[in-house]
Symmetry: none
DNA sequence: CATGAATGAGACTTCATTCAT
DNA sequence: GATGAATGAAGTCTCATTCAT
C-alpha cells in the first residue's frame, strides 16, 4: 500500500496531471536548491516549470504539496532501484553492499531533491510531517531487514539492540552526501565516497578489538 | 581566536547585552524548535524572551542574527567541553572515546539548539552561511586531528584518504541524535546511544573481513 | 529620448499598467498634498487609488517610485505643451512670452503635483535624486535656449553670464506659484499672476537705470 | 513682539537651556542637511550634539521642536542684520540694495539651515505650520515696506498690485540660493549671485518696453 | 484548461518618546 | 541634570492563493 499523499488537482486528465507534476518537481527542485523552500515563491516555481501561477494551482492545492511531490519522487526512485535488485541474485555481504550502493546512487542522482526534502521537510505542519516520517521509517526498515538477513546468514555480527541504529546510520550516510556535499565533494567523487562509506560501515576503525579478539587461544 | 560574528547591539552595557542575549537564545531555541525558524516571528521570540519587539532589536540587527547567537552558543559549549578534556590525561583509544563522548553529550544537552542550527542554518544567505560552515569545518578538523593522533599511536587503522570522511561521520553521528530523535529516542537513551555509536564507529559490522584476514591459516 | 525611469511592474499588460499608474498618480498627488510624502502611507495611496495594497505593489517597486510617477507626469505635461507651441509661429518677445506662459499654465493645472514633486523630491536617495535633477536641468536649458534666441534677435539684453540664472529664475517663478500659493492666492488669480510675473521678469523694477541710460544726451 | 514658539524644557537653568539649544541647532542643521529631516533620527541629533537621547528631550518636547529651533535661528539672524542696517544711512535705491544684500548674505551664511527650514517646514502639522508661515509673512512685509518707501521716493516704479508679488520674489530669490544651489554654485559665487540677482530684479530683461517708451516724444 | 490580475494577512524593522536610575 | 534601556505603534513590502476571463 504505497500510501500516496492525496494531492488535489482541478484538472481531470490524469495523463496531463502526471506530466505537469513532473515539470513541477523538476522546477521546484532546481529552485529550492538555489534559494531554499521558504525563499522560493510559488510564482518562481511556476515560471521555472514553464507555466503561469494559475496553472500551477490547477495541479497542486498548496505550496506544501510541492514538497510532497518532491519527496515522493525521491522515494519512488530508491524503491524502483531496489525492486530491480530483487531480481539480481546477490546474497550475504554482497547483497548488503548492493542495497546500500543502490541507495547511495539514487541519492547522488537526485541529490538536489534529496537535499531539499531533507532540509525543508521537517518544518512542515503535523499532518504533512507524519507522512514524510512514515516514508523515512519505511526505508529505514528495509535496511533493518537486510541487516537481520545478513545476521542470520552469519556474515555480520550486529546485536539486535544496535540494529535499528545501524539502519539509521546507513540512511544518514546517504543523506550526508547531499547535506555535507559542500565539504565532501572537495575530497571525494561519488564512487570513492560509496567505497569508503561501505568500508567504514563494515569495518569501522579496525580497532584492535579489546573485547572479542583474538583468533587463537 | 574564535572568530565571533559581530552582531550589532544598540545597548552599550556589555553585561546586559550578554544577559539579554542568553534570554534571546533560550527563547529562540524553544520557539524555533516548535515551529521552525521561518514560521517563528520575531515578535514571538521577543515575547518568549520576556520583552518587547523593540527591545529585541536593541540586541540584534536582524532575524538572522538570532540564528548566529544560537550557533555560537552551540559551538561554544562543545569547545568548552573539549577544553576541559585537555587537562584530562586520556590517550590513544581512550582519548578518542572521550572527545567523541564530550561532543555527543554537548549535542544532547543542547539538542534543541543543535537541531535548530542544523536545519535552519543552511538556508542562510552567502555571508551568513560562510560563517557557519567555517565553524563546522573547524569542528570537523578537531576530529580529524584526533584521528591522526590515534593513527600515529597505532591504535586505529584509518587510511589518510578516509580520514576526512570519518571526521564528518562523527560529526553527523552527533547531529543525528537531534534530527532523527523522533525515531532514535524510541529505542535508545542518550547513554545507550553514545555507547552504540562509539562501538559502531570503532568496529563497524564486525564483518568477517575478506581482505586483511585472517589469524590462522 | 526622454530618459524614463524604469519602474518595475509585475503586471505585463501595458495598457493596464498605464491606466493603473494614472490612478496611482492622481491618488498620490492628492494624498501627498494633504499630508506630505513622508506622512502618507502606501496603504493610504492604495486606498485612495481604489485598490488594495497588494495591487499597488504590482505596479510599483517601492514607495519612491510613486514620486517618480508624479515627476514624470509633471514633466510630460510641460513638455507636451511646449511641443504644441513648436507649431505656433510666435517669434521674439512673443515667443518668449508664450513659452513662459505655457509653463506657468502647466504648473497651475498640476499645482498639487508640482508642489509635491517640488517639496519631497529633494530628500530622495542618490540615484533617485539624480534622475529628478536631470529633468529639472533639462527644463532650465529650454529656457536658456529661448533666452539665447531672443538675445540673438536683439529683443532682450541679457549678458551671457546672467543667462543661466535667469533661466532658473523663470523656473522658480513657476514653482513659486505652488509653494507660496498660501500667500499668493490671496492677492492674485493665475491670470494676474502670469501677467505680473512676465512683466516683472521683463522689466524688473523700472529702475531709472544709473548705468546704461539714457535716451538723449 | 517676537512671537517665540514656546518650546518646553524640563531644565530650569535658562543659561544652560540656551547653550544646549545652540548645540542642538548646530547638530540638527548638519544632520538634516545630510539626510533630510524625516530620515534623521532624534538619536542622531542627540549624538551629533554630543549628549544622550535622554538629555535631548530635556530641552525639547518633540522632534518638531528641533525644526522650530532651526527656524527661529534663521529668522533671528536675518532680523539682526536688518537691525544693524537701521543705523546705516542708506536711502532710496541704495537702501533697497542694502536690505536685499543683508538678506542674501544671511541666507548664504546659514544656507544649510535655510534649506532645511525651507524643505521640511511645509509638511508640518497645522499649529506648527502657522507659526512658520507667520514668520515668513513678516519677512515678506519688510520687503514690501521697503518697496513702498522706494516707490514713494520715486526711485522705482512698481504698481501697488505688483508690490506683494515682488516682495515674495525677493524672498524666493534668497531661498533659491539654497534649494537650487546644486545648479547655481556651478556658475556663480555668492558675490556674483547677489550682484546678478539684484541687477535682474531691478532691470529685468532690459526689454525694449513696448508700452511706456520712450524718453522723448 | 490556461492565464494573470487582485487580494490582504502578516512579516520584519524603525524610531520617537518615556522614565527609572 | 544626565543617561540609556525599554517600549510598541506604525510603516513598507511580500507572497500564497483565488477567480473572472
Amino acid at each position: 500500500m504505497p500510501s500516496r499523499k492525496d494531492i488535489p488537482s482541478i484538472v481531470k486528465n490524469q495523463r496531463l496531471v502526471d506530466q505537469r507534476r513532473q515539470q513541477i518537481i523538476r522546477a521546484a527542485v532546481r529552485a529550492f536548491h538555489e534559494k531554499g523552500y521558504h525563499r522560493t515563491t510559488t510564482r518562481e516555481v511556476a515560471a521555472a516549470a514553464g507555466f503561469s501561477i494559475g496553472t500551477l494551482y490547477e495541479y497542486i492545492g498548496s505550496k506544501e504539496d510541492i514538497l510532497f511531490l518532491v519527496c515522493d519522487a525521491v522515494y519512488d526512485d530508491v524503491t524502483a532501484r531496489w525492486k530491480e535488485l530483487q531480481q539480481s541474485d546477490g546474497t550475504g555481504l554482497e547483497r548488503l553492499r548492493q542495497v546500500m550502493e543502490a541507495y547511495f546512487r539514487s541519492v547522488d542522482d537526485l541529490q538536489d531533491a534529496v537535499l531539499v526534502m531533507y532540509q525543508e521537510t521537517k518544518s512542515l505542519s503535523g499532518d504533512a510531517l507524519a507522512y514524510v516520517l512514515e516514508k523515512e521509517t519505511r526505508m529505514q526498515q528495509v535496511f533493518q531487514q537486510e541487516l537481520a538477513e545478513a545476521e542470520k546468514l552469519g556474515v555480520i555480527h550486529l546485536s539486535e539492540e544496535a540494529r535499528p541504529l545501524f539502519a539509521h546510520q546507513i540512511l544518514v550516510a546517504g543523506q550526508m552526501w547531499t547535506f555535507r556535499r559542500w565539504a565532501l565533494s572537495k575530497h571525494y567523487s561519488i564512487d570513492t565516497y560509496i567505497r569508503l562509506q561501505i568500508d567504514q560501515l563494515f569495518y569501522g576503525l579496525r580497532v584492535q578489538d579489546e573485547r572479542k579478539e583474538t583468533c587463537g587461544s
